[in-house]
Amino acid sequence: MSIVAAVFDAVLGLMLIWLAWRLLRSDDLFKAVVLFIVFGLMVALAWARLGSPDLALAEAAIGAGLTGVLLLITLATTGHSAYATFDARPRVRLGWAGRWTRGLLVAGVAAILATAVWSMAEDFRGLAPAVDQRIAEAGAANPVTAVLLNFRSWDTLLEIGVLLLALTATWALGGRPVSAFPGAVRMGGMFTVLARFLVPLLVLTGIYLVWAGTNQPGGAFQAGTLIGAAGIVLLLSGLLAPHRGHAFPLRVLQVFGLLVFLSAGLAGLFGGHFLEYPAGQVGAFILGVELALTVSIAVTLGALFFAAEPHAARPLPVQGRQQEAP
């Protein structure tokens, strides 16, 4: 490794720690969230340095982009009170004993982790040789895609389940739809003009990513996030207004990916085991599952941003409101 690369890595590492420290110490929540987005982009850079372009794409789109947007919208909708205008000053109140216990706990966890990491075998090559050996049968030349959709497809199947679960749980909370918050959305004007250019570009990039994903970095999750982001831009610009009629088709699209994945898995039952694709058609199966997943991920992530069910025009009653209002 050249000296320049080593210095770059060291600076990147220190910068990550410094950013994390600053964003967690900051008393200004808006600043903390912006620092978090910068932190996410730096993490993406670190993935690229560690030879994982798939992760770099996912981190930039999901970790920095989508999480950042979710944080900002929550800040915009919860921060507008005199009590909490971007102010994170409240700390957990503890006596000196509590503070010491907390400090020791964190330091202890850090020490144990550092020892564990330090004592790992030097020449351990993990599962890479095993993957290399059978990559030819996997139906995808990109080893990460091969692991995600073939060798360990159980993980990915359950992951789609988690995505649906998060959406169901969020809907169960019955929050107000984000569009009901004035000022938070409906940006209009210049943004609408920008959105007209941005949306086709995002969708096109997404389609490219899922298409390229089998052989190059990219795949359903990165692509789904980009297309989901296109949906969020449409919502923000007011070009798309969700209403009751959207509820049913949305639900169908959200479970579509899981259903296709499950039926592809069941199709494998005829030849052998669950999720074991028939030999010779593995590539086609993986591409089909990826395309279906992309659609579902895009719609689910967009819906998570929107937060409330399209047909839930009336929010759940808020208890305790009466006592608070004078």
Partner: protein
Amino acid sequence: MLVGVALFSLGLHGLLAKAHLLHKVLGLNVMASGTFMVFIGAGARVPGVAPDPVPQAMVLTGIVVAVCTAAYALALTRRIRDVTGRTTLPGEHDTPPPPHRAARDY
């Protein structure tokens, strides 16, 4: 990998020390990034050899699960704010919210 350990610990401290729920979500996400960093670092230790794809696939899953968790936690934060008028957990920080604006309707 040591950077990962440092990030995990910083995130844990943020989670325990900050009362504002949004800050706790930030702490949780920084912790997750630290975990991922240790994972990927362990898979990419031999220079010049292509990194292990298995941890990469797992971390990709992890990133998606992390955003799901964050989205749900933030939805809970909004709900807690709607119901109680504050953005901290009861008992952790005991300044009463100002009554006249806390329960403002949008």
